[in-house]
């Protein structure tokens, strides 16, 4: 039984608290948030106690591991604090708001060899993981083209957009990691951004984009993003290899379809958002993290995976602003 501290009692903190509560090998001991009420509420529902001083986690010898679901600017300090207090950490994406901060993080972690895993939950989605597994088994031959469809059901409020770091660091970051999960290192990023919603444009952000990544292998990944989708959380994947193709389709609450006089086999809308759509993925991610903490081994996805996804987000932003392909890390 691993004892957990949780940093951040917001939306993503809620997801992790629920996942912890359902895991027989984990117990939630302390929930930190600067808002006492939020911390208490989460603790009450899923276990442990709420605190507003994060030291109550770092200095608590009973806590084995933490989940970092705090605002992005706190990810780096929280990873460092976890490393220094000898606690394993599962950190939400993105690792930081800019690559410069990742450099600071690398510096601070020198000689510590901490166990840090990045929370790219989609790698653990059973369907996407199965695509990767079949791909690695050679079922479709040499991979040539990847298409990642990733549309949220609805944009977050403007207040969130303003502090989100922009669509590429906040939303596409998952798709960048997925592209790397499937294709390995990426060479060039070309972004064709869209402003469909004027309210988001007013925040100097985009709300839709097509981002094309060229992998060092010669394969190309196309990411199609939209902050809005009428039918729910549109999360699909298609990998085309020389010998075949793998598809991971959307998910719905049930398998029911309805036929009437004007249509046939109409299905339910897609699962509405990440809480339901990726519930299995969060559970599998936690299992993987617990297993690494218990049995040792290099966590995957690692801080360096987080750093690479951030580099891609920065390159995508630059490509969008400068309207040209951008080499990653330049």
């Amino acid at each position: 039984m691993l004892k957990f501290g949780l940093l951040g009692a917001g939306r993503i903190g809620h997801v992790h608290a629920k996942t912890l509560a359902a895991n027989p090998d984990a117990s939630l001991e302390v929930v930190f948030d600067i808002r006492q009420e939020a911390a208490d509420e989460l603790a009450k529902e899923y276990g442990g106690r709420g605190v507003t001083d994060e030291k109550e986690i770092w200095d608590n010898p009973d806590i084995d591991a933490v989940i970092i679901g705090s605002p992005t600017p706190l990810h780096v300090p929280h990873i460092i604090a976890a490393a220094k207090s000898g606690k394993a950490a599962l950190c939400e994406k993105p690792v930081a708001m800019e690559t410069a901060k990742v450099e600071e993080l690398r510096e601070a972690l020198k000689g510590l060899d901490p166990t840090v895993m990045m929370g790219f939950n989609r790698r653990f989605d059973p369907s996407f993981a199965r695509v990767k597994e079949l791909m690695d088994k050679g079922e479709i031959g040499k991979v040539e083209q990847v298409t990642i469809i990733s549309r949220d059901p609805a944009a977050p409020p403007a207040d969130y957009i303003k502090v989100s770091g922009g669509i590429f660091k906040d939303m596409t970051i998952h798709d960048f990691d997925m592209a790397r999960f499937l294709l390995g290192d990426i060479d060039t990023v070309t972004t064709i951004p869209q402003n469909l919603d004027p309210e988001i444009a007013a925040c100097n952000d985009y709300d839709a984009a097509v981002i094309v990544l060229t992998a060092k292998s010669g394969a190309v990944a196309t990411i199609i993003n939209n902050r809005h989708c009428a039918t729910g959380y549109d999360q699909r994947l298609e990998v085309t290899g020389h010998d075949g193709q793998l598809n991971a389709d959307n998910q719905r609450p049930t398998t029911v379809s309805l036929s009437k006089d004007s249509y046939s086999l109409s299905r339910e809308p897609y699962l509405d958002f990440f809480l339901t759509r990726y519930a299995d993925a969060y559970a599998a991610e936690l299992n993987q993290f617990i297993s690494i903490v218990k049995e040792g081994g290099k966590p995957t996805p690692s801080i360096e995976d987080g750093a690479q996804a951030l580099l891609l987000a920065e390159a995508a932003e630059k490509s969008a602003r400068e309207q040209r392909p951008v080499k990653v890390g330049q």
Copy 2:
């Protein structure tokens, strides 16, 4: 180029005239119907000339073959006339209204060895034919259970129902032939009839039924019939073998699907009726007939296949009326 006479300018005559016109190896020369206007109209649209005296077909040495789409009571005399005048015949189902008539037919044809093929068009449907082909290749192992879903979009008018011979001879006859196509000889028929539409009940006929056939092989076929289906012409097939299953699904005008906020991947209704749904089947049936006429060989489905389907229809009717399983041919 085979020269055709067509007997009957009704709904099914129309289907065959159209199929003939589109076939580069066939030409429609004479259309017979007791209604001059109907015969002329069909001839005008698809070729040839209209006649009200069927002798103009039998005595015409230019005519190689006939398609018999006349009312069912005329099938037997028309087959005999074709045989006597040395013309090949493709005859619509059912071969006759009762088995006693088939005996007369067999008697009359003795020594003539005519080329007669029964118009069980569904055997030639590319999907059903593919199911049979894969089944025969052993893809699903020993066949255990067959399900045939066959629902018309809407019931014919009461006037037609009254002279139709009843649902089993008029509608299920296709499914009986399909069951025999897939399973061979049938041993026992059990019918569970339904009266959903009081107007059809008033004609002393059923408008829906479940008919279960036990094949001599031990396999069982379930036929689900309904004279009405909200979504169109519901025509499906499922064959379960020891090692797998084959499915033939419904067809739609296009592959388009629509997703909105309350549903996803909604497809168009099914093709509305046999004219569109089985257009390819009628064309393939005609090709097969032409090829047999030209190159010789035993036509399949044969008169005996027609006779067997009729026996099954009679057994189904008896089973429905007497509420018990009925042995075929007893």
Copy 3:
């Protein structure tokens, strides 16, 4: 938090123990089985302690409710014991091996008004429940025909078959309840049984069957059963109404499909058996049971639902043996 005793540490006991362990409102306190080792093992994995004397459940004032997963002949005595000791009971199907025993049960329960719910888990399957919900909302109009496909992945061993009560009480019982769930009271049962596997025939049982039920409403339900299915646990439902159709399809581990040069969009096999296929249904069933125990109300499905399903099983067996339609309860 409701405290549970579990009777029976066999396969179905295992399912319930697991479901209890995952439910935050339930705790497993005592596991009874005549085999100490089996009881201990289950208790060790999912909570509580193992006992071989069932009195340790009935006499334990801490136990609020029991789940009866004992062999079928013990269902009636265990329900009675639960009723007498004031404990709510969730009892596995079938309620008894024969209707005569149900009469004894009714007699014994007179004046006790116990809370007893029958474990027809499929009513709680999200897809089947959604079909019922949409049907009840009138989405497809008056219901005309139901098709229930229910095939197990593989037959149980002959030893189990011999004490199972036969395919209709052991396997079809779920489908009988589903037919009643959808169509209400059933009038007539017609069974067309099959013997595909000689080993099961040697046990004087069938291993496949088509069972057609006529509802008092005029609707007809066709159940297609097979103890074996190559592709997994084939569990589908189709309800045809005058205005449309509802379908509940099979489930697979993921949404992944594979296309290669000889096929396209090939999906994974179906979920293998009830443990995975109906995991959500068992969880929802338990929630419903807990909610009734806590808040009061008549449990559904009730003992009388269990009795009706058993009557259908008996009628189906009689129909199979006597090769004729059988009126329910006669």
Copy 4:
């Protein structure tokens, strides 16, 4: 009955000859090709006579219309000859190898007002046409993103590649027209090209690409091309609007699917190539052309649609070579 001359007896000439032969309102009178044998062969199979002097078409007063399926460099002279001889023309894509030639064409046609339709057959595909129709009816609201998947089953031989004008003019040209059909005028083209097959790279051409088009409306179209696809001719379309999404899926020879122990609902590969996949589209295109010739009206797609598609192909090539977004027509 419209009388046709056909220019070009190659692969695409074959498609048109076959389509003409099957159309009851058209007759093929003369087939021109510089190779007498090729012209004769086509004429023998589908009607008319073969000639090697194109004047036999232009000077023939019986010919009403021509289909131009000659090599691309001849399209412009053949359109001009048709216009001058007063014959309507249906011309294959692309209208010319470079935009400069289109300017010559416009000049030559001044004052002639000829009936010229461009052969962008995919606009007439029933599924794509249905997508457009539903889109125009407002079913999905304001269009935001289009995805066009277009993969050939196998690359043409290197000899063809060398004279093809390159992937964008030869293959993507259809997708450019489809994007314009759906989104109207295009502003910017960004190409991410791929070289998967070294033999095609050696021809200084690409064999795969992602091309992103920004429409003046703000919508974005992503075209994914590949000269090779293991599963057949991968031709799909997806249009996402603010209120919903339209999908047009691939087509297969039948609706049959196969389930076995290791997979379920495996479908056949896609229709193999444009001859079968777009047979209906070619037939509908010809009907539209005949109807315009007979009844008058502006042909769509027009020469200007052809010119715009060519501009997009040139922009795509430039974008690929210069690795930057390119404004159309600059």
